[in-house]
């Protein structure tokens, strides 16, 4: 099979049935999609039931920007900084999508952004954000808190 990638188009469908068409060079920024292309499974529309249209559009926008040779280093830095200026819901969705689609550069940036965002938060807030159940008894919680009281000021 010839390896001319320049004109090949990849079709994607989001969980809410929106379709997107992108050049193969853009799509293969995602390791997941790259594997599908390499395995010859990318000839029909690829369904992505884990990713909604809004998030998929963002991810593809990122990928497009990163294959665009006319973009300068500075422009790219600014783009990446602005890109991550999202609310929690979108950031969460983006994180899951970047992980599922395995877009390495994007995933690293989003992970760092999430880490920066939760740094100052209290454990109760963390539980809400990540939907985690508190399985400590009040006594157990109190014990840990007391032992590490210095970390809570």
């Amino acid at each position: 099979m010839s390896s001319s990638k320049s004109n090949k188009i990849v079709k994607l469908e989001s969980s809410d049935n929106k379709t997107f068409e992108v050049e193969e060079a853009v799509a293969v920024q995602s390791e997941t999609l790259k594997n599908m292309v390499d395995d010859g499974c990318a000839n029909d529309t690829i369904p992505l039931p884990n990713v909604n249209g809004k998030i998929l559009e963002m991810v593809l926008g990122w990928c497009k920007k990163h294959v665009d040779e006319t973009v300068t280093g500075d422009e790219l830095n600014k783009y990446e900084a602005d890109f991550l200026d999202l609310d929690q819901a979108d950031l969460y969705g983006l994180l899951m999508a970047a992980n599922f689609l395995n877009v390495k550069g994007l995933l690293d940036r989003v992970l760092q952004r999430v880490a920066d965002m939760i740094k100052g938060k209290k454990p109760e807030e963390i539980r809400r954000i990540f939907n985690i159940k508190n399985d400590f008894t009040p006594e157990e919680e109190e014990e840990i808190r007391l032992e590490n009281a210095w970390a809570f000021d």
């Binding site: 819901a89 969460y92 899951m96 999430v114 880490a115 990540f130 399985d135 590490n148």
Partner: protein, 384 residues
């Protein structure tokens, strides 16, 4: 307006229904500073287990950590000063911290490794040591050793045995001449060489013989680098013999002696430091820092940089995040130290200002890479 908000919440709720996979949680937590991790211990039992006990997570966090801490002794023996900073040049303020041996009149920082600091005291009749993580405020006391008599030099080193996943403290003791002769007469070794292993939680004698003939002096700090302790052994009373580079492999517990380049021997006072995982030789009078580019290969010693000699220059402490600068300093006026980032290529300095530094503070500095390495340790809270 209300509908719009309701819709957004619905969207958020939908997203939230899928909990983050564990591998993403690990990635995010590995990017956090230690103080956050201490707070997040009680988010849930699985987070607790991850942060406290999971050695994969702890090592990942250590590898990624850009957090560092300066620990400084001051003229108040009970407290040390701690300054948190990051290797991308953000400095916090100086904060006092009680160290675990503060019930003793004087202590000495042996070394730090992977975020753990080994502190010792040998003024008393008993040698006391502690291994301490100042960022999570937990420590473990080593079994005390009765102090020997007629000691003329005690050399301590602290490091990590990667092969056995163990932390070790090495203690070499040299005795005054008469005591040495007596020991030899009694069939004992002329010197004492003991090692403490955290896993065994006990001291034992090192079987290997010290590889250099007496008399010699050792220059410290007795650096841990590349899995071994390193000393410069300088022959006393003779100018003919060259300086020797002695290394003690922490995993095999065997000595090696490396050659020094010829020009090293004529340069005067020198000691080893570890900088970013490279073994470096610091020539104090010349203010030159050489790096062993290929560990163990004597011909690979290369000049890293030199600075203008000052009254007294500090050893380089740490590389900046990009690796083009080194944090170091010089002593100006009695006990007043000026810290700066030295740009190796550009030969420029950027002075570091730290809030709350007292007027006088002492060497040595020890730079700690922060981590959540926990031993089976005691909390600092219960120190009297």
């Amino acid at each position: 307006m209300k509908n719009h908000i309701y819709q957004k919440n619905e969207e958020f709720a939908q997203q939230k229904r899928t909990s983050l996979p564990q591998e993403l949680i690990i990635e995010i937590l590995s990017l956090l500073p230690v103080k956050c991790l201490v707070r997040f211990q009680y988010v849930s039992k699985s987070w607790f287990a991850l942060i406290i006990n999971d050695s994969y997570f702890i090592k990942l966090h250590l590898k990624r950590s850009k957090e560092r801490t300066l620990i400084l002794e001051t003229d108040e023996p009970l407290d040390y000063l701690m300054v948190n900073f990051s290797i991308d040049d953000r400095f916090g303020e100086a904060v006092k911290i009680k160290h675990p041996l503060h019930h003793l009149p004087s202590t000495e920082i042996v070394d730090s490794c992977n975020g753990l600091v080994c502190i010792g005291n040998d003024d008393n009749a008993v040698c006391e040591f502690v291994i301490w993580n100042p960022l999570i405020r937990k420590h473990k006391k080593l079994p005390s050793k009765p102090k020997e008599k007629f000691v003329c030099g005690e050399y301590l080193s602290f490091g990590y045995d990667r092969v056995n996943d163990d932390y070790k403290v090495l203690r070499l003791v040299k005795f005054h001449q008469r005591a040495t002769l007596e020991r030899v007469r009694e069939g004992r070794r002329a010197y004492s060489l003991d090692i403490y292993s955290l896993r065994e939680h006990s001291w034992r004698m090192v079987e290997e013989e010290w590889p250099v003939e007496e008399p010699y002096s050792l220059s410290g700090p007795y650096s841990f680098s590349n899995g071994a302790f390193h000393w410069v052994a300088t022959p006393i009373f003779t100018m003919d013999l060259k300086k020797k580079h002695v290394a003690f492999d922490l995993s095999t517990e065997k000595f090696r002696v490396h050659e020094f380049p010829v020009n090293f021997s004529i340069k005067k006072r020198v000691h080893f430091v570890d900088l970013g995982g490279w073994l470096c030789a610091v020539f104090e009078d010349l203010c030159e820092v050489w790096v062993m580019k290929e560990y163990g290969v004597s011909s690979s010693w290369t000049l890293l940089y030199w600075v203008q000699p000052a009254f007294s220059n500090l050893s380089p402490l740490v590389f900046s995040h990009e690796g083009e600068k080194v944090l170091t300093g010089e002593v100006i006026d009695d006990h007043c130290i000026e810290l700066y980032w030295y740009d190796i290529k550009k030969n420029t300095r950027k002075i570091v200002e730290i809030q709350n530094m007292p007027e006088y503070f002492f060497l040595p500095y020890t730079c700690v890479g922060s981590t959540v390495v926990l031993l089976d340790a005691d909390s600092d809270n219960y120190l009297q």
